[in-house]
């Protein structure tokens, strides 16, 4: 609470001369956002903007509120103070618009161990973005799960289960991706492939917000990092 008189922190776009994207109207904005958990202020007066083509990596020590910030941005949690705006409008007023634009993969990715990779994806696609069976098989092949389509997910390794969830990124995906620790349990090749895919998505005009502790080797032009560790009063 001591930070009340500090000026708001504004995270300006990466100082790359090529990027002028965030001058466009930002799709996702946080205004004076504060989050309190169990009577502890995780962050306050946080401002951020995310426009087409940008990638925001949220870093910080454990317990600094990375996941909470992602959940606030995805509209899963209500902020203690401040607002999250989508196209300039508060998130709460446009759930349908948000559902159309957002792909959320949380720390628990919504994959059922008892269902096969294919069944899991068919359901998640039906819930969000309809996709054909062929597209699903293709996506599974792209994440290196060819031959594992009809194996129950609980028999797969942790990394393979993560890949099932990440296969959604290879289907016809909405523009804004919010990913909580997407690199967990992936092998080196998987990490490199996902980094390239995320950068590609941004270069195609998409947006990515992610948390990870590892340093990204492959970043798009609109890449920024937000360190929540420096936010704490």
């Amino acid at each position: 609470m001591q930070g009340k008189n500090l000026p708001p922190r504004i995270f300006s776009p990466a100082p790359s001369p090529k990027v002028s994207l965030s001058l466009n109207s930002p799709l996702l904005e946080a205004v004076a956002l504060a989050c309190e958990r169990d009577w502890r202020m995780l962050f306050e007066r946080l401002e951020l903007r995310l426009a087409a083509g940008e990638m925001l990596q949220i870093s910080g020590p454990n317990g600094s509120g990375k996941t909470s910030l992602l959940r606030l941005l995805a509209g899963l949690m209500q902020p203690t103070a401040g607002d999250v705006l989508l196209n300039g409008q508060p998130l709460a007023k446009q759930r349908a618009e948000l559902a159309r634009n957002l792909l959320w993969i949380g720390h628990a990715a919504g994959i059922k161990g008892l269902l096969t990779a294919e069944e899991n994806l068919i359901w998640l696609c039906a819930l969000h973005q309809p996709a054909s069976r062929d597209a699903i098989w293709q996506a599974l092949e792209q994440v290196g799960l060819r031959g594992f389509e009809d194996v129950p997910c609980h028999t797969l390794s942790a990394g393979q289960q993560r890949r099932v969830a990440l296969a959604r990124l290879y289907l016809a995906a909405p523009p804004l991706w919010i990913l909580d620790e997407p690199f967990t349990a992936l092998d080196k090749a998987g990490v490199a492939q996902l980094e390239r895919h995320l950068a590609q998505h941004c270069e195609n005009g998409g947006m990515v917000v992610l948390t990870t502790h590892h340093t990204l080797a492959n970043t798009p032009d609109g890449y920024r990092e937000l360190d929540l560790g420096q936010q704490q009063p």
Binding site: R71, A74, G75, L76, M77, Q78, A96, L98, A99, R100, L102, W104, G106, H107, A108, A109, G110, I111, K112, G113, L114, L115, E119, I122, W123, L124, A126, L127, H128, P152
Partner: protein
């Protein structure tokens, strides 16, 4: 939209049949509770017959309660509920599909098992259709009301007891009407009034509780 509804029912069916113990537990519980009463009260058939409407209904109610705690738990833990909340489909519709699947595979099995246990307690054969009707109308109400409590307590570590405390008082009208109808039919009195009341409770529960459950889930996910 109806596509998602049927897909969700099919998905729940698949999940339940791959984990049959979860399906069988409430049924076995129901059968054992009923079987305990002749042992405890004594095999005097007149007394058992008089008690049987209440016994069957209390046992059914407890069996449904037992199955409720797990209704949303695994979906909560593996992140499925977050995906539901963020989906463009109305959460209440998804909830209704989930509860319908839950009832189809636990409540309906209970309804089918009940006549056997009722005969064991000495309930005369002419009361069996009434028993089936009351259970068919009553158990969906139990599942639907229970889902509201399950949604509110899913985020708690030990929500089981709290769930029982929240939900059991709400079950009282169903219990009174269900066992009342059976008592009336035992005594040869008309039961249509009871059944109509139960049907109206069922209609109310189907139309209103999915919204309450959806709101409860949104709160639990947002914690």
């Amino acid at each position: 939209m109806s596509n998602v509804f049927t897909l969700l029912v099919a998905r729940e069916a698949r999940l339940l049949f791959r984990r049959p113990a979860e399906l069988a537990n409430p049924l076995v519980f129901f059968a054992i509770v009923i079987a305990l009463f002749p042992l405890a009260v004594g095999p005097e058939s007149q007394l058992l017959q008089t008690l049987s409407p209440g016994l069957i209904w209390v046992a059914a109610l407890l069996a449904v309660l037992l199955s409720l705690d797990g209704m949303f738990r695994s979906d909560f833990e593996d992140g499925s509920l977050e995906q539901w909340v963020l989906s463009s489909h109305p959460l209440a519709l998804l909830v209704l599909a989930k509860v319908l699947a839950h009832w189809l595979f636990s409540g309906l099995a209970l309804v089918l098992l009940a006549p056997l246990l009722a005969l064991m307690l000495g309930l005369p054969g002419h009361c069996i259709p009434v028993l089936l009707m009351t259970l068919l109308l009553g158990t969906p109400v139990l599942s639907l009301l229970g889902a509201v409590g399950a949604a509110l307590t899913v985020g708690l570590k030990r929500g089981g007891l709290l769930l029982a405390l929240l939900i059991l008082p709400l079950y009282i009208p169903v219990l009174i009407l269900g066992s009342g109808a059976l008592q009336a039919s035992l005594q040869g009195l008309p039961v249509v009034g009871y059944l109509l009341w139960m049907a109206s409770l069922a209609a109310l529960a189907v139309t209103l509780t999915p919204f309450a459950t959806a709101a409860g889930l949104a709160i639990s996910v947002g914690e």
